[in-house]
Symmetry: C2
Subunit: 260 residues, 2 copies
């Protein structure tokens, strides 16, 4: 409630601008939101002081926001959802406008194919586990945060975040290569989200399911790894790709819908 009051105590926060800045500060906007969360704290700190509430509570909220390197992820997901939805429902469009997993299946929606979901069993992510956990404990890929990759950040913006490899495994060169590979299956380069190490090239944005199927390159997704027992929570972080089958399904449905 204190946070809600603080958010209402000022103008709206431009999350797209915040993300653009965070991508210049070593974030990729999904698994690494260190800079974004601090930028969020910066927007909120002076507002929190203004709210009528107990000082001890304000202190606790500020300490929590500062210590949580993913505090901005939920607003970021909402912003990415708004961006992706803006591209949904365009007749004939082959762009993927949503990717999500429920712990059992991985599903996508396509702009030109209405409300239909294309789904197939989700995979186990490949990554680093917190001490005491291993892939034995991992649930199949889960969560809605893949909306970040759908909108052109996260796994698609790895080149912005060389330091992330200490969290999701790999080398800084792998991070560069991940972004370069995603240019192969996307429609555009983002005009707001740019990558300094690639000479400020825009992030690869807008997955075209035809390119995915043609090239056999599935999108790269950065993700947290959840324990398979409820209540345990996150046990690691890593990389995963959606099953190719869902893009093939989309291709078949597209051919049917548009009589190709």
């Amino acid at each position: 409630p204190l946070l809600a009051a603080a958010l209402e105590a000022g103008e709206g926060i431009d999350i797209r601008a915040l993300l653009a800045e965070a991508l210049h500060m070593g974030d990729e906007g999904h698994n690494r939101n260190k800079a974004g969360s601090l930028l969020y704290l910066r927007h909120l700190a002076h507002r929190i002081v203004k709210v009528k509430a107990d000082d001890a509570l304000k202190e606790k909220v500020l300490a929590f926001l500062g210590d949580n390197a993913l505090s901005v992820l939920n607003p970021v997901m909402a912003a990415c959802k708004a961006m992706a939805d803006a591209g949904h429902g365009v007749e004939g469009s082959t762009m993927v406008t949503a990717m999500a997993r429920n712990g059992t299946d991985f599903g996508i929606r396509v702009s030109g194919l209405g409300e239909r979901w294309f789904t197939a069993p989700a995979q186990i992510p490949d990554g680093l586990y917190f001490p005491g956990f291993s892939s034995e404990d991992a649930n199949a890929d889960i969560g809605d945060s893949t909306i970040t990759e759908t909108a052109g950040i996260g796994g698609f913006a790895m080149a912005s975040a060389p330091a992330i490899v200490s969290f999701v495994s790999g080398t800084p060169q792998d991070a560069l290569n991940a972004t370069l590979e995603m240019y192969e299956i996307t429609i555009a380069e983002h005009s707001h989200f740019t990558i300094p190490p690639l000479d400020f090239r825009g992030t690869p944005t807008g997955i075209d399911f035809r390119k995915v199927v043609e090239l056999g390159i599935a999108p790269r997704v950065n993700t947290g790894i959840a324990h398979k027992e409820p209540g345990v929570g996150q046990v690691g972080a890593g990389l995963v790709r959606p099953p190719m089958a869902i893009f093939e399904q989309a291709l078949m449905a597209y051919a049917e819908t548009y009589n190709l």
Copy 2:
């Protein structure tokens, strides 16, 4: 005074650890301290709430700290000074332990050559000017912040901060090259300050004046540019190098001191 009370309201802040983290977030620690300043805000925000003071004042201080992308530079300079001084006064050492400019001269001190300063006229930095100003307005290079380069960050850590080129001019490749060049004239690679795009290689640290003279490569310094009239303040930011003459002077003095 509010800030002083906030600083006293908790443990000391480990600026070396803060810098190490900021170098993984696109800072080089001298001209670009965006991430470092936000990390500083994160340490201070909840402490500021705790201090007994007017809420309106707290709000103002938090907004100022958040809006000032260089708010941590002064503590960083103090920390770098402490690190560099720790290496001063070692008999026979050819390491530069201080670099500073007073707007007229550029001076250095050397670990094995006592309290003596080697000085020569300072140059005009090469860089980008704020709107309405040009190199006509620039004073000769000024300030003590070159202690950051002396300690292995700033111009020496450019490879960590590809986004800085929009502020100091150049391309991200220039930023990488700047750091690579500095390995030529330094003694060690920093064990705490590492550079993700160079596979977490330590920053080039500890200028050896012999290497500077032998290779003809002067240290690279990132700097603000001050107006030549007092009171106007900063009019731009850019790159500068100290005059070669001061390293040659140091070499002569070293030969004399140690009877070489």
